[in-house]
Protein backbone atom coordinates (compact mmCIF):
# COMPACT_ATOMS: atom_id res chain seq x y z
CA UNK A 1 0.00 0.00 0.00
CA UNK A 2 1.36 3.38 -0.98
CA UNK A 3 1.48 6.36 1.35
CA UNK A 4 -1.20 8.09 -0.70
CA UNK A 5 -3.49 5.11 -0.28
CA UNK A 6 -2.87 4.98 3.47
CA UNK A 7 -3.67 8.67 3.85
CA UNK A 8 -6.73 8.18 1.67
CA UNK A 9 -7.97 5.28 3.78
CA UNK A 10 -7.33 7.15 7.00
CA UNK A 11 -9.35 10.07 5.70
CA UNK A 12 -12.12 7.73 4.66
CA UNK A 13 -12.48 6.65 8.27
CA UNK A 14 -12.67 10.18 9.62
CA UNK A 15 -16.11 11.72 9.88
CA UNK A 16 -15.72 15.13 8.31
CA UNK A 17 -18.19 16.97 6.09
CA UNK A 18 -17.69 16.48 2.36
CA UNK A 19 -17.19 20.21 1.88
CA UNK A 20 -13.92 20.02 3.83
CA UNK A 21 -12.58 17.05 1.91
CA UNK A 22 -10.70 18.90 -0.79
CA UNK A 23 -9.98 17.41 -4.19
CA UNK A 24 -10.33 13.67 -4.62
CA UNK A 25 -7.24 11.48 -4.87
CA UNK A 26 -5.71 11.23 -8.32
CA UNK A 27 -6.43 7.50 -8.37
CA UNK A 28 -10.16 8.21 -8.01
CA UNK A 29 -10.16 10.97 -10.63
CA UNK A 30 -8.24 8.87 -13.17
CA UNK A 31 -10.37 5.77 -12.68
CA UNK A 32 -13.59 7.79 -12.87
CA UNK A 33 -12.44 9.43 -16.09
CA UNK A 34 -11.68 6.03 -17.54
CA UNK A 35 -15.08 4.78 -16.35
CA UNK A 36 -16.74 7.62 -18.30
CA UNK A 37 -14.66 6.70 -21.37
CA UNK A 38 -15.75 3.06 -21.05
CA UNK A 39 -19.40 4.11 -20.84
CA UNK A 40 -19.01 6.23 -23.99
CA UNK A 41 -17.36 3.24 -25.65
CA UNK A 42 -20.38 1.14 -24.66
CA UNK A 43 -22.65 3.81 -26.17
CA UNK A 44 -20.71 3.42 -29.44
CA UNK A 45 -21.22 -0.37 -29.24
CA UNK A 46 -24.94 0.20 -28.67
CA UNK A 47 -25.12 1.96 -32.06
CA UNK A 48 -23.39 -1.03 -33.68
CA UNK A 49 -25.81 -3.38 -31.88
CA UNK A 50 -28.77 -1.32 -33.13
CA UNK A 51 -27.40 -1.45 -36.69
CA UNK A 52 -26.98 -5.21 -36.41
CA UNK A 53 -30.52 -5.67 -35.08
CA UNK A 54 -31.90 -3.59 -37.95
CA UNK A 55 -29.93 -5.48 -40.61
CA UNK A 56 -29.91 -9.03 -39.24
CA UNK A 57 -32.49 -10.23 -41.83
CA UNK A 58 -30.90 -8.25 -44.70
CA UNK A 59 -28.98 -11.20 -46.07
CA UNK A 60 -29.49 -10.28 -49.77
CA UNK A 61 -30.00 -13.95 -50.58
CA UNK A 62 -26.65 -14.77 -49.04
CA UNK A 63 -25.84 -16.98 -46.04
CA UNK A 64 -27.71 -16.35 -42.79
CA UNK A 65 -26.34 -16.41 -39.28
CA UNK A 66 -27.91 -19.80 -38.59
CA UNK A 67 -25.90 -21.26 -41.49
CA UNK A 68 -22.63 -19.54 -40.58
CA UNK A 69 -22.24 -19.58 -36.80
CA UNK A 70 -20.79 -22.51 -34.91
CA UNK A 71 -22.13 -22.54 -31.37
CA UNK A 72 -19.35 -24.75 -29.98
CA UNK A 73 -16.81 -22.21 -31.19
CA UNK A 74 -18.78 -19.42 -29.53
CA UNK A 75 -19.06 -21.37 -26.26
CA UNK A 76 -15.27 -21.89 -26.17
CA UNK A 77 -14.70 -18.19 -26.94
CA UNK A 78 -17.09 -17.26 -24.13
CA UNK A 79 -15.29 -19.58 -21.71
CA UNK A 80 -11.90 -18.07 -22.67
CA UNK A 81 -13.07 -14.50 -22.09
CA UNK A 82 -14.95 -15.29 -18.87
CA UNK A 83 -12.02 -17.14 -17.29
CA UNK A 84 -9.63 -14.39 -18.41
CA UNK A 85 -11.91 -11.84 -16.72
CA UNK A 86 -11.65 -13.89 -13.51
CA UNK A 87 -7.85 -14.18 -13.71
CA UNK A 88 -7.70 -10.44 -14.45
CA UNK A 89 -9.55 -9.90 -11.16
CA UNK A 90 -7.07 -12.17 -9.37
CA UNK A 91 -4.26 -10.16 -10.97
CA UNK A 92 -5.79 -6.98 -9.50
CA UNK A 93 -5.72 -8.63 -6.05
CA UNK A 94 -2.08 -9.63 -6.56
CA UNK A 95 -1.28 -6.03 -7.52
CA UNK A 96 -2.99 -4.71 -4.37
CA UNK A 97 -1.05 -7.22 -2.27
CA UNK A 98 2.18 -6.28 -4.09
CA UNK A 99 2.80 -9.90 -5.10
CA UNK A 100 4.93 -9.55 -8.19
CA UNK A 101 5.10 -13.25 -9.13
CA UNK A 102 1.32 -13.76 -8.82
CA UNK A 103 0.77 -10.61 -10.86
CA UNK A 104 2.89 -12.06 -13.66
CA UNK A 105 1.24 -15.49 -13.48
CA UNK A 106 -2.33 -14.16 -13.59
CA UNK A 107 -1.41 -11.62 -16.28
CA UNK A 108 0.07 -14.43 -18.36
CA UNK A 109 -3.06 -16.58 -17.97
CA UNK A 110 -5.23 -13.57 -18.85
CA UNK A 111 -3.08 -12.86 -21.90
CA UNK A 112 -3.07 -16.46 -23.14
CA UNK A 113 -6.85 -16.79 -22.77
CA UNK A 114 -7.40 -13.44 -24.50
CA UNK A 115 -5.08 -14.52 -27.32
CA UNK A 116 -6.94 -17.85 -27.61
CA UNK A 117 -10.22 -15.93 -27.88
CA UNK A 118 -8.74 -13.75 -30.60
CA UNK A 119 -7.34 -16.76 -32.46
CA UNK A 120 -10.79 -18.42 -32.50
CA UNK A 121 -12.39 -15.21 -33.72
CA UNK A 122 -9.87 -14.67 -36.54
CA UNK A 123 -10.26 -18.34 -37.44
CA UNK A 124 -14.05 -17.93 -37.60
CA UNK A 125 -13.75 -14.77 -39.75
CA UNK A 126 -11.31 -16.47 -42.14
CA UNK A 127 -13.63 -19.47 -42.46
CA UNK A 128 -16.60 -17.25 -43.22
CA UNK A 129 -14.72 -15.22 -45.83
CA UNK A 130 -13.44 -18.45 -47.43
CA UNK A 131 -17.08 -19.59 -47.75
CA UNK A 132 -18.02 -16.37 -49.55
CA UNK A 133 -19.50 -14.70 -46.47
CA UNK A 134 -17.29 -11.61 -46.57
CA UNK A 135 -18.42 -8.20 -45.23
CA UNK A 136 -19.36 -6.99 -48.74
CA UNK A 137 -21.72 -9.92 -49.34
CA UNK A 138 -24.75 -8.45 -47.55
CA UNK A 139 -25.81 -5.72 -45.14
CA UNK A 140 -26.18 -8.41 -42.46
CA UNK A 141 -22.56 -9.50 -42.89
CA UNK A 142 -21.32 -5.87 -42.96
CA UNK A 143 -23.09 -5.27 -39.65
CA UNK A 144 -21.79 -8.56 -38.22
CA UNK A 145 -18.13 -7.94 -39.09
CA UNK A 146 -18.33 -4.35 -37.84
CA UNK A 147 -19.87 -5.30 -34.51
CA UNK A 148 -17.89 -8.44 -33.70
CA UNK A 149 -14.71 -7.10 -35.33
CA UNK A 150 -14.89 -3.94 -33.24
CA UNK A 151 -15.00 -6.04 -30.08
CA UNK A 152 -12.07 -8.09 -31.43
CA UNK A 153 -10.09 -4.89 -31.99
CA UNK A 154 -10.76 -3.89 -28.39
CA UNK A 155 -9.48 -7.28 -27.19
CA UNK A 156 -6.36 -6.82 -29.35
CA UNK A 157 -5.78 -3.39 -27.82
CA UNK A 158 -6.30 -4.92 -24.37
CA UNK A 159 -3.67 -7.60 -25.03
CA UNK A 160 -1.11 -5.00 -26.15
CA UNK A 161 -1.96 -2.87 -23.12
CA UNK A 162 -1.53 -5.86 -20.77
CA UNK A 163 1.90 -6.68 -22.25
CA UNK A 164 2.97 -3.03 -21.87
CA UNK A 165 1.73 -2.99 -18.26
CA UNK A 166 3.73 -6.10 -17.38
CA UNK A 167 6.85 -4.44 -18.83
CA UNK A 168 6.08 -1.39 -16.67
CA UNK A 169 5.65 -3.54 -13.54
CA UNK A 170 8.98 -5.17 -14.32
CA UNK A 171 10.95 -1.99 -14.97
CA UNK A 172 9.08 0.66 -12.96
CA UNK A 173 7.67 -1.45 -10.13
CA UNK A 174 4.36 -0.84 -8.36
CA UNK A 175 4.54 2.94 -8.34
CA UNK A 176 1.28 4.95 -8.15
CA UNK A 177 1.19 5.73 -11.89
CA UNK A 178 1.58 2.05 -12.77
CA UNK A 179 -1.06 1.21 -10.16
CA UNK A 180 -3.56 3.57 -11.76
CA UNK A 181 -2.94 2.15 -15.21
CA UNK A 182 -3.43 -1.39 -13.93
CA UNK A 183 -6.71 -0.31 -12.32
CA UNK A 184 -7.85 1.16 -15.65
CA UNK A 185 -6.76 -1.96 -17.50
CA UNK A 186 -8.83 -4.16 -15.19
CA UNK A 187 -11.86 -1.91 -15.77
CA UNK A 188 -11.29 -2.15 -19.53
CA UNK A 189 -10.96 -5.93 -19.53
CA UNK A 190 -14.08 -6.48 -17.39
CA UNK A 191 -16.07 -4.06 -19.57
CA UNK A 192 -15.04 -6.04 -22.68
CA UNK A 193 -16.47 -9.14 -21.06
CA UNK A 194 -19.80 -7.34 -20.46
CA UNK A 195 -19.91 -6.40 -24.15
CA UNK A 196 -19.16 -10.01 -25.08
CA UNK A 197 -22.12 -11.17 -22.92
CA UNK A 198 -24.38 -9.03 -25.11
CA UNK A 199 -22.58 -10.17 -28.25
CA UNK A 200 -23.06 -13.88 -27.72
CA UNK A 201 -26.63 -13.30 -26.53
CA UNK A 202 -27.74 -10.96 -29.33
CA UNK A 203 -25.65 -12.21 -32.27
CA UNK A 204 -24.98 -15.88 -31.69
CA UNK A 205 -28.00 -17.01 -29.64
CA UNK A 206 -30.94 -14.68 -30.47
CA UNK A 207 -29.74 -13.62 -33.93
CA UNK A 208 -29.89 -17.16 -35.35
CA UNK A 209 -33.46 -17.82 -34.20
CA UNK A 210 -36.02 -17.93 -37.05
Amino acid sequence: MTVADAVYDAKQDAFAPTSEAGPAAKRVVVAFGFWVFLLSDIVMFSALFAAYAALVRATAGGPTGAELFNQVNVAVQTACLLISSYTCGLMSLAVSARQRLNTYIFALVTFVLGAAFLYLEVHEFANMIARGAAPQRSAFLSAFFTLVGCHGLHVTAGLIWLAVMMAQVEFKGFRPSVDRRLLCFALFWHALDIIWVWLFTAVYLIGIRP
Binding site: D9, K11, Q12, A14, F15, A16, P17, T18, A21, A24, A25, R27, V28, V30, A31, F32, W35, L39, S40, I42, V43, S46, A47, A50, A53, A54, A58, T59, A60, G61, Q71, A75, T78, L82, I83, S85, Y86, G89, L90, S92, L93, S96, S138, A139, L183, C184, A186, L187, H190, A191, D193, I194, V197, W198, F200, T201, A202, L205, I206, R209
Partner: protein, 131 residues
Protein backbone atom coordinates in the same frame (compact mmCIF):
# COMPACT_ATOMS: atom_id res chain seq x y z
CA UNK B 1 -23.24 8.91 10.27
CA UNK B 2 -20.99 7.61 7.56
CA UNK B 3 -19.88 10.68 5.68
CA UNK B 4 -17.25 9.48 3.26
CA UNK B 5 -14.74 12.08 2.28
CA UNK B 6 -13.96 10.85 -1.16
CA UNK B 7 -15.58 8.76 -3.81
CA UNK B 8 -14.33 5.28 -4.39
CA UNK B 9 -12.67 4.70 -7.75
CA UNK B 10 -14.64 2.39 -10.04
CA UNK B 11 -13.10 -1.07 -10.06
CA UNK B 12 -11.90 -0.80 -6.47
CA UNK B 13 -13.35 -3.04 -3.83
CA UNK B 14 -15.34 -0.95 -1.40
CA UNK B 15 -14.26 -1.31 2.21
CA UNK B 16 -17.14 0.41 3.90
CA UNK B 17 -18.62 -0.90 7.13
CA UNK B 18 -21.33 -2.54 5.06
CA UNK B 19 -18.81 -4.45 2.96
CA UNK B 20 -16.77 -5.49 5.95
CA UNK B 21 -19.80 -7.07 7.57
CA UNK B 22 -19.89 -9.57 4.74
CA UNK B 23 -17.57 -12.42 5.46
CA UNK B 24 -16.40 -12.67 1.85
CA UNK B 25 -12.73 -12.08 1.20
CA UNK B 26 -11.64 -10.20 -1.92
CA UNK B 27 -10.79 -13.53 -3.52
CA UNK B 28 -14.23 -14.81 -2.51
CA UNK B 29 -15.94 -11.85 -4.22
CA UNK B 30 -14.28 -12.65 -7.56
CA UNK B 31 -14.90 -16.38 -7.17
CA UNK B 32 -18.60 -15.99 -6.36
CA UNK B 33 -18.94 -13.65 -9.34
CA UNK B 34 -17.15 -16.10 -11.60
CA UNK B 35 -19.34 -19.04 -10.51
CA UNK B 36 -22.54 -17.00 -10.99
CA UNK B 37 -21.36 -15.80 -14.43
CA UNK B 38 -20.52 -19.36 -15.53
CA UNK B 39 -23.93 -20.57 -14.37
CA UNK B 40 -25.78 -17.77 -16.19
CA UNK B 41 -23.75 -18.37 -19.38
CA UNK B 42 -24.45 -22.11 -19.25
CA UNK B 43 -28.17 -21.44 -18.75
CA UNK B 44 -28.13 -19.02 -21.72
CA UNK B 45 -26.64 -21.65 -24.04
CA UNK B 46 -29.04 -24.28 -22.69
CA UNK B 47 -32.09 -22.02 -23.15
CA UNK B 48 -31.04 -21.25 -26.74
CA UNK B 49 -30.76 -24.93 -27.64
CA UNK B 50 -33.52 -26.64 -25.70
CA UNK B 51 -36.91 -27.46 -27.17
CA UNK B 52 -38.47 -27.69 -23.72
CA UNK B 53 -39.32 -23.99 -23.55
CA UNK B 54 -41.98 -22.01 -25.39
CA UNK B 55 -40.06 -20.85 -28.46
CA UNK B 56 -41.40 -17.26 -28.78
CA UNK B 57 -40.37 -16.56 -25.18
CA UNK B 58 -36.79 -17.74 -25.56
CA UNK B 59 -35.43 -14.46 -26.95
CA UNK B 60 -36.87 -12.49 -24.03
CA UNK B 61 -35.48 -15.08 -21.60
CA UNK B 62 -32.01 -14.72 -23.14
CA UNK B 63 -32.18 -10.92 -22.77
CA UNK B 64 -33.13 -11.31 -19.09
CA UNK B 65 -30.20 -13.72 -18.55
CA UNK B 66 -27.81 -11.26 -20.23
CA UNK B 67 -29.05 -8.42 -18.02
CA UNK B 68 -28.55 -10.64 -14.96
CA UNK B 69 -25.03 -11.55 -16.05
CA UNK B 70 -24.22 -7.89 -16.72
CA UNK B 71 -25.33 -7.19 -13.15
CA UNK B 72 -23.09 -9.96 -11.82
CA UNK B 73 -20.09 -8.54 -13.72
CA UNK B 74 -20.79 -5.00 -12.51
CA UNK B 75 -21.13 -6.02 -8.87
CA UNK B 76 -18.48 -8.73 -8.48
CA UNK B 77 -15.85 -7.72 -11.08
CA UNK B 78 -16.25 -3.95 -11.40
CA UNK B 79 -17.28 -3.52 -7.72
CA UNK B 80 -20.03 -1.02 -8.44
CA UNK B 81 -22.03 -0.76 -5.23
CA UNK B 82 -24.90 1.34 -3.92
CA UNK B 83 -22.67 2.79 -1.20
CA UNK B 84 -22.28 6.55 -0.74
CA UNK B 85 -18.68 6.40 -2.03
CA UNK B 86 -19.96 5.02 -5.35
CA UNK B 87 -22.64 7.62 -6.15
CA UNK B 88 -20.71 9.21 -9.00
CA UNK B 89 -19.88 5.84 -10.57
CA UNK B 90 -23.51 4.70 -10.40
CA UNK B 91 -24.82 7.99 -11.82
CA UNK B 92 -22.40 7.79 -14.76
CA UNK B 93 -23.46 4.19 -15.32
CA UNK B 94 -27.16 5.13 -15.14
CA UNK B 95 -26.64 7.85 -17.75
CA UNK B 96 -24.77 5.41 -19.99
CA UNK B 97 -27.57 2.85 -19.67
CA UNK B 98 -30.12 5.57 -20.53
CA UNK B 99 -28.30 6.50 -23.76
CA UNK B 100 -27.79 2.83 -24.69
CA UNK B 101 -31.51 2.13 -24.19
CA UNK B 102 -32.48 5.21 -26.24
CA UNK B 103 -30.20 4.16 -29.11
CA UNK B 104 -31.10 0.46 -29.15
CA UNK B 105 -34.83 0.57 -28.34
CA UNK B 106 -35.35 3.73 -30.41
CA UNK B 107 -33.63 2.24 -33.46
CA UNK B 108 -35.52 -1.04 -33.15
CA UNK B 109 -38.82 0.83 -32.76
CA UNK B 110 -38.27 3.10 -35.76
CA UNK B 111 -36.94 0.37 -38.03
CA UNK B 112 -39.85 -1.96 -37.20
CA UNK B 113 -42.30 0.83 -37.99
CA UNK B 114 -40.55 1.60 -41.27
CA UNK B 115 -40.63 -2.03 -42.27
CA UNK B 116 -44.31 -2.38 -41.44
CA UNK B 117 -45.72 0.94 -42.67
CA UNK B 118 -43.61 2.14 -45.55
CA UNK B 119 -43.25 -0.97 -47.63
CA UNK B 120 -45.87 -1.60 -50.30
CA UNK B 121 -44.89 -5.23 -50.58
CA UNK B 122 -42.07 -7.47 -49.50
CA UNK B 123 -40.79 -7.98 -53.05
CA UNK B 124 -41.24 -4.43 -54.29
CA UNK B 125 -39.49 -2.41 -51.65
CA UNK B 126 -37.84 -4.63 -49.12
CA UNK B 127 -34.86 -2.80 -47.72
CA UNK B 128 -33.78 -6.07 -46.24
CA UNK B 129 -33.27 -7.63 -49.63
CA UNK B 130 -31.32 -4.77 -51.17
CA UNK B 131 -27.76 -5.46 -52.03
Amino acid sequence: MTDTLYDRAPGEISRTAEAQRLTLSDFGIYTVGFVLAVMLTAVSFWVANTSLLWAPGVAMGLVVLAIAQMGVHLVFFLHITTGPDNTNNVLALAFGVLIVLLVVVGSAWIMTNLNENLMPSQEQMNLHMQR
